[in-house]
Amino acid sequence: MSSRNARGNSSRLDTGLLLACCILSVIALLLPDRLGEPIATTIRRTVLAPLLTVQGQSQTVRAAITARDDDLVLRGAAAAQAATAPALAAENESLRRLLGLAGRLRDGFVVAEAFHPAGLTDDFTITIGAGSAVGVNAFTPVVTADGLVGMVESSDPARSVAITWAHPDFGVSAMSADESAFGIVKPHLVSGPERYLLELRGVPFRASLDSGTLIVSSGLGATYPRGISIGTVISEIPTTERWARTYLLKPSVLPSTLSAVVLLLPSRVAGGVSQVWTDVASADSAARAIVAASDSAAKLAALAELAARRAALLAASDSARADSMLAPLGPAPTVRPPSISPSISPPISPPISPPIRPPPDTMPPRTVPPGGVE
């Protein structure tokens, strides 16, 4: 009986405590803020103070961990951006130069994006995002601000496929920037890294070219207008030919780095682009000539050579105009006066030199099979 009473008392006590706690909770809920806030503040500053200190330290640790994670993410993002920055800078520089080229060309061209490679096994062609809808057809020259890339081989309304100078079928009639030597530029068909160089073949034996000489298109053949930069001379290649020289060229353009190109439409090809690339080339040539002529004897020889070249080119120009067979090939080579005007003018007696006739193109214009030599 007493046990039952004890259980009943305990049960009543439990119930009483429950009701008391519930009533206190409800009272706390109903208290206005001005009365409840002092109670909460007292609890926070007394009972909970050490726990809140621990909580603050834990939150600091958590913030440090999160900040470190964020820092790592930022570092990763910065590293990724740094990795792509040179490529972006190079592309910007390329586009700026392309804009400069467009300004010099003024009209008769199309700017398009270049995609490469066209095939998994083909390193020598590029796909261009412009086609016959904008006037791009086969044999349209492809250039950049640095120089010649190649030519369009086939075109669809919206896209074209072009061969680059490294393609085995590529060829262009070329000359040195100072017009002292003519020849045909072909890819250097060897194995290894030198595969991505060019050869200037068929240069007359008497025309010796120094390393660094700029080679440009000669304009003979009508596919490529005169004056597009092709490359610079690296060295002479020994061959079995005794009447002509072959030079190894470093190309002006690396197709693997292309992102945008300029396609020269027929109107621009007919109008010529001589002033676009060769202004700088002439200046370079003049500077090299002046440097080479640092001693008086060499200077005299250089001036004599210039005078002879001028006379030879005049004769060649007259001959070209007179030859009706050359008329369809486009305008005759423009003869420009030498860019060197010596401050000391000794009497020049030009040596007798046979006129230098540029080698004719190996292909007639617009009749070249796809990928054929100009």
């Binding site: 809920l29 809140l52 621990v54 909580q55």
Partner: protein, 167 residues
């Protein structure tokens, strides 16, 4: 009540409350582990329902003091949950792991339900999502942690037999 049992219950309660203020801020995440709820439930099952109600009330009023509004909300929720836990645990059984997990799950969920419904701090459109998605997830996570704690600290908790029925 055996003083050793009281000491153990107090020790477990203090450790879990300390974990609530030290470990929980480190974990983060959308579904927090409620160590305070575990502390209240584990303490409640070792004392009489009246004492459990007092423990729940004091724990809740402490939590309420950290909130800007709603003083008494957690106090009422913990009072009900702790009293119910103590009463139910005494009715049914002892330290079965599965039932302990279910017990903690229901206790935490009940606390969230009472808290959300009383406080009204959750927007109307989010009440069901809170009660049927986030609260069960938090309750489940709390239950898992409770079972792990029970396994790790079985010597401290002691073993209760089903024969210790009070009613």
């Amino acid at each position: 009540m055996n003083p050793w049992n009281v000491l153990r219950a107090v020790a477990v309660f203090v450790v879990l409350v300390a974990a609530h203020f030290s470990l929980r801020p480190l974990m983060g995440g959308p579904v927090p582990i409620d160590f305070l709820c575990l502390a209240v439930l584990f303490a409640a099952v070792r004392v009489r329902p009246g004492a459990a109600a007092v423990i729940g009330f004091l724990s809740g009023i402490g939590m309420d003091s950290l909130a800007l509004q709603g003083l008494g909300t957690s106090a009422l929720a913990f009072t009900i949950v702790a009293f119910g836990a103590s009463w139910l645990k005494a009715v049914f059984f002892a330290d079965n792991l599965g039932l302990t997990a279910l017990f903690v799950f229901l206790g935490k969920w009940a606390y969230d339900v009472v808290y959300v419904l009383i406080s009204g701090g959750v927007p109307d459109g989010q009440v069901l999502v809170q009660l049927l998605l986030w609260s069960p997830l938090a309750a489940a996570l709390t239950a898992v942690v409770g079972v792990m704690l029970l396994l790790l600290a079985r010597p401290v908790f002691g073993t209760r037999r089903a024969t210790h029925r009070r009613r």
